[in-house]
């Protein structure tokens, strides 16, 4: 069992209370409207939730990666869209704070942690998300900077972000390039409809002769792919944390229902068919906890992103899997009410399904995991 610090326990209590008071009353309405709750970004920032694992000199609190995982899990227990927003935000901040120049760190990170700016990473292209070594989007170096042409799809936060870190081919290799919203030639395409995480903006982005300065590259030119892979390795466990939070939320709904719903003269929790489901859900959640918490705890203890590649992919797959599996069982316990929106399980299942392809499908995670096992 993980031995959380006093600070981590207090953080969990604080985020849970925030989620219960700020998100729970609005969850159904936000989900129905499918709106991105921009005002919530300011609230997350004012609580310091956008900079949990960022160093203090850049405006973060340096509480650590495991603390970040805990916060995301607690938000997801109530409204996964907000947890996903937080997860998506960690990637760009990590990439810049670890690979950007001092100037880039100071320019880009503090406004994001204050909730004044939103950043996204644009990697996936219409031809596929997991084959990032074969990019069609290209940035060609000219005298006064890079000229970018290409198209990105399924970009989380793409439609609302003020800045976009773009993965584009620069010669033989790829680079990460910062593109500000409003830059001529950078257009935001249609918002892509999704079955879940309805409050999260997912949009297409297009770059047509979009010019940016030479100093827009994050890290060295040509280092985009390894930086992106490192960033995904660090950010992926948070997807697992969202799945874990969804599973816990669904389990709590099902448990309460099973104790209150009377059938055959007794609460259905006393029927073995229901008990089997509850026992399985309990085991799945606790098993996933260990896998989801481990990568963040390892990073906090000094492990490098390279050291947690297996643990990171495993955490994502396990967390996303348990999110779907436990929520389905919860729906079975609630019967007809399980698919009624007012019981929240339908929403949670849709949200959990969104996690399956996020940052790479379950199969991609297993390929990464197996690659590490077979080394």
């Amino acid at each position: 069992m993980f031995d959380f610090t006093k600070e981590q326990e207090m953080l969990r209590t604080m985020v849970r209370e925030f989620a219960e008071t700020e998100l729970a009353p609005k969850a159904l309405e936000l989900d129905k409207r499918g709106e991105f709750p921009r005002d919530l970004v300011k609230k997350l920032a004012s609580l310091g939730l956008l900079g949990i694992s960022t160093t203090r000199d850049l405006g973060g609190s340096a509480m650590g990666h495991l603390a970040g995982t805990i916060a995301i899990e607690e938000l997801a227990r109530v409204y996964p869209s907000v947890a996903f927003f937080l997860e998506v935000g960690t990637g760009p901040v990590y990439a810049i704070s670890h690979f950007g120049s001092e100037e880039q760190k100071k320019k880009y990170i503090p406004p994001v942690l204050k909730g004044e700016k939103i950043m996204c990473i644009a990697a996936t292209e219409p031809t596929g998300g997991s084959e990032l070594t074969n990019l069609a989007t290209e940035a060609v170096l000219s005298e006064d900077g890079y000229v970018i042409n290409g198209r990105k799809v399924y970009i989380t936060g793409g439609g609302v972000a003020d800045q976009c870190i773009l993965l584009a081919k620069t010669g033989e290799r790829a680079s990460l390039i910062m593109v500000e919203r409003g830059t001529p030639g950078f257009t935001i395409g249609r918002r892509q409809d999704q079955m879940g995480l309805r409050s999260v903006d997912v949009s297409e982005l297009a770059f047509n002769d979009c010019k940016v300065s030479k100093d827009s590259v994050i890290g060295k030119e040509g280092s985009g792919f390894p930086i992106a892979m490192t960033t995904f390795t660090v950010a992926r466990p948070a997807i697992g944390a969202i799945g874990l939070g969804i599973a816990r939320g669904a389990f709590e709904i099902a448990l309460k229902y099973a104790k209150e719903r009377v059938l055959y003269g007794k609460p259905i929790a006393r029927l073995q068919a229901i008990q089997f489901l509850l026992a399985d859900m309990d085991s799945e959640i606790d098993a996933a906890r260990w896998l989801v918490y481990y990568p963040g705890a390892a990073l906090d203890k000094g492990a490098s992103p390279r050291d947690i590649i297996k643990a990171s992919s495993r955490a994502k797959a396990a967390g996303a899997g348990v999110g779907v599996s436990v929520t389905l069982k919860a729906i079975e316990i609630l019967g007809g009410n399980g698919v009624s929106p007012e019981y929240h399980l339908a929403r949670l299942l849709n949200d959990a399904m969104e996690l399956i392809p996020a940052t790479g499908t379950q199969q991609i995670m297993k390929i990464i995991q197996a690659g590490e096992i077979l080394k």
Partner: protein
């Protein structure tokens, strides 16, 4: 005009788990084992009010609680909200204190802390719900007090105007400071701790005060804890809740009339 404020807080069983609390009729106590604890809800509003006053006028906020070592968690939460320091009154001698003894011990803690212009409490706790401690505390300290405060306006560091809720309205009470004020939950919306607040809480000073520290003020340990408590629980018993459902039908106005009639018949009105 900096204002030094002491806020008395209490750790209580989480009301979410009240249905799991059972009674021990042999000892006349409630079984709290396994019941999560939280800071008494009204006390969090008292902490918030203290922080608000400090932010406006300067000064300091000290949180004080009496309880077992785990009551430190409530102090930590208040420190994470922004309080400057904490004090925990913790001693076996304090165990089993009723409201009078609790107020006596808290008065010792307050005198040990020393400097204060204002003492804030939650109006009542969710476990005992007596609401007696603030008034008793003010008597031990020889200070004026008011309860049921919905608003506090500081005139200067010697005077404050309190809006005190009474039936069908409120009273505006001008008080000389120092004073004890017990606040209602409606007085404000309390802030959540921030991540940085949580990180900084562990760096803040927390005094640990026991019986001997109180005795150094000339207080008598015979007036503390169970021994010093004149209140004795005669009996505890569970009151079984029985539900009966009656469905009323008809138009809303007719249902309302039926409802009033039935409530009169049941002597509920």
């Amino acid at each position: 005009m900096p204002i030094d404020i002491i806020v008395c807080i209490k750790q209580v069983p989480d009301p979410e788990y009240f249905d799991k609390i059972t009674l021990d009729s042999a000892t006349g106590t409630i079984r709290r084992t396994g019941i999560p604890v939280i800071t008494n809800p009204a006390d969090r509003h008292a902490v918030e009010e203290a922080l608000r006053i400090r932010e406006e006028f300067g000064g300091s906020v000290t949180v004080l609680t009496m309880g077992p070592p785990q009551a430190r968690k409530s102090i930590d939460e208040a420190l994470a909200m922004g309080a400057d320091r904490g004090a925990l009154l913790c001693d076996q001698v304090f165990a089993g204190a009723d409201t009078l003894s609790t107020a006596y011990i808290l008065s010792g803690g307050i005198n040990l802390i020393g400097r204060y212009d204002l003492i804030l409490c939650g109006n009542e706790t969710v476990d005992g719900s007596t609401g007696q401690v603030p008034a008793q505390l003010s008597e031990f300290l020889g200070l004026p007090h008011t309860t049921h405060a919905r608003r506090i306006d500081m005139i200067d560091d010697r005077r404050a105007v309190i809006e005190r809720v009474v039936e069908n309205g409120y009273l505006r009470v001008e008080m000389e400071l120092p004073a004890v004020v017990a606040v209602l939950k409606r007085i404000n919306t309390y802030r959540l701790p921030t991540v940085m607040g949580i990180m900084e809480a562990s760096q803040k000073e927390v005094l640990e005060l026991g019986c001997s520290a109180c005795e150094s003020l000339g207080m008598n340990s015979c007036d503390m804890g169970l021994e010093g408590s004149p209140t004795r629980v005669a009996e505890v018993f569970e009151s079984p809740q029985r539900r009966r459902v009656e469905m009323l039908t008809g138009e809303p106005q007719e249902i309302a009339k039926q409802l009033v009639r039935r409530l009169h018949q049941l002597d509920a009105l």
